[in-house]
Symmetry: C2
Subunit: 227 residues, 2 copies
Amino acid sequence: MTVRVPVVERILSANDQLAAANHARLDSAGVFAINIMASPGAGKTSLIMRTVEALKEELRIGAVDGDIATTLDADRIAALGVPTVQINTGGTCHLDAPMLQSALPQLPLAELDLLIIENVGNLVCPASFKLGVHRDVLIASVPEGDDKPYKYPVMYRGVNVLMLNKMDVLAAFEFDVGYFRRGVEALNPGLAFFPISCKTGEGIDDWLAWLRNEVKEHVPGNTGAYR
Amino acid sequence: MTVRVPVVERILSANDQLAAANHARLDSAGVFAINIMASPGAGKTSLIMRTVEALKEELRIGAVDGDIATTLDADRIAALGVPTVQINTGGTCHLDAPMLQSALPQLPLAELDLLIIENVGNLVCPASFKLGVHRDVLIASVPEGDDKPYKYPVMYRGVNVLMLNKMDVLAAFEFDVGYFRRGVEALNPGLAFFPISCKTGEGIDDWLAWLRNEVKEHVPGNTGAYR
């Protein structure tokens, strides 16, 4: 006798349900959203500032900034003249979909093309909470060391594009770019990769070209999975 | 009429209960234990290796290494000839007291003076989980930036000693040591502080002197709070 095991379709978690709602809301407003993740101090705010400065004449940009405490980063971004919302998580180690849901009404979504979200500095927890964005961006940095893909695989496995920041100090650290990339490739084959320096500007144009293209190619409601 | 509200003593959480048990076990074995926390790549393993190399002839040292995945760090430490246990947390972003409880029987506690525990690389979550150790150690690093005490106050508030690693590259980064220290002082007045470079050895002797003294001065069962 064969026992038939009932199979139910995957039930969305509460966070995933809200992420799907955030995604639909962004899509209906015509806003392409990216979620930037990294260790503390890898260069999230610096990359956002470089990106806003370069693109703010051609795209209407907004920002959401997640931190445990303070508005230090949001203040820097807002000073560039883009609408910015700070999320202070209290002690929570990541942004989640309810937090983004609360932030969205504070932004003029109908007047934006691109929303840049800066997650809490953390190489572990943010990987497990979808927000409802279109692309997940990870920034590694040279001083962190070349072994991070091997030690934080969940984060590296899930993202759409990887930057390696602080290339200007590569010579001062023992960082084997080949070893780093082999670790990445094993987890996330073909991942878009840009070695950059937010300090000198090295590689930023390649990242901007990638981002411009993602925004341009995006067809709302036709993206499949939200992130 | 005065209503008397019953007050019960603070009930320990499950984690705290196990942390207290770990602490008692370490004390009864005469082992002084430290918990090293930091962002990914700040230099936890490097500091442990410097410390083991310098002290292994005068103290009997063991190590517990916490990582999401791999035994890369534990392998490096074990290669120095000290008993080392790896804890792979799977996806969990911190060590906790049950994990340490599982690791302790794998170590020859009766033959150790000092147990060095390397937590998962994370500036948020490990601060909220006591392990049962005697001292909490935080490593900041120059490339992370000077604003980290302001943005990760829970971690900075709770530790017993702070290292600022990678001082050898201070000139290559915009890092204001005075601003950094003012942030620390506001959260944790009088905190022991050592600027170091695990690469060049700068400042390591000061850290070793501090650690030697803590081990020497420790009276088991007389420490008050476990960490």
